[in-house]
Symmetry: D2
Subunit: 88 residues, 4 copies
């Protein structure tokens, strides 16, 4: 990843780390579990958003380049790995 997409992804990751540490403090401070669960779900949603940003960028850059170089078998193998791990 390069340029503004990389900056955006890093900014989102830093925010998610901060958010996850806040969840940790909530558990330490014995906050009500339902509130912890809602915050944890928000972190998961933000990571899924980051994952889709990275995946879309990957398609637009590395996978497009690989296809242009005629490396379709490598592209297919990688897409099958993504399917296996439910990356979406």
């Amino acid at each position: 990843m390069q340029g503004p997409k990389k900056e955006d992804t890093l900014r989102r990751l830093k925010t998610a780390v901060g958010h996850l540490k806040a969840v940790e403090r909530m558990v330490e401070a014995d906050k009500y579990c339902a509130d912890v669960l809602l915050q944890l779900q928000a972190v998961i949603a933000s990571l899924e958003k980051i994952s889709s940003i990275i995946l879309e960028n990957h398609l637009e850059t590395c996978l497009r380049a690989a296809m242009r170089r005629g490396e379709e078998e490598e592209v297919i193998a990688e897409l099958k790995t993504f399917m296996k791990y439910k990356i979406k």
Copy 2:
């Protein structure tokens, strides 16, 4: 949360924070996106596991106690909130 469940949850959260920071470093260091995606998916899976541990504990403690106090409307409202946010 109390006792060993709380310790286990905190340990898992700390591990997830460390794992997520490693993902951040991978993006900073321009690692291959497919590898970043696999690591990010692993963090998401670990957070979903933590969420299910907290939810199960919550059922067994707070929600059981609330039901015993006859607060079924509060329990139902909370379970509907969990449904809305796809907490599972």
Copy 3:
């Protein structure tokens, strides 16, 4: 389930059966796989919607009644089964 919720659920289920048979005919007629996948995804989304309607109704009726009868252990056991099968 009773009354209008039951009728609504049955109507949605009949529509989903018809939609799924249409997907079957698309496969039989060698339609383009990407189109088949989009239709199949739409059927899955409609079944998830039906599942959430039934679950919400179940909370509002059977589980509320069970809580009022003091059967909290049965309610907890059932909610844990739903968690296990990712019903949401």
Copy 4:
């Protein structure tokens, strides 16, 4: 889809239609909602399995062929559509 994969997919779809009709009969006969939900979840799981079989086959046939013809833009556009609809 062709040959044994097509036959397998059609057989799975027919089974899913029969299973979904059974869910419809359960709702009509006022069966216990928790049992209905478990059966409905099983249908959803079978459709997700069918979706992944079709997607894998699609990668191996149409998308590989499109890449070999140099149609990488069409392939990328289609993969982005799959991402948008959470096809996995």
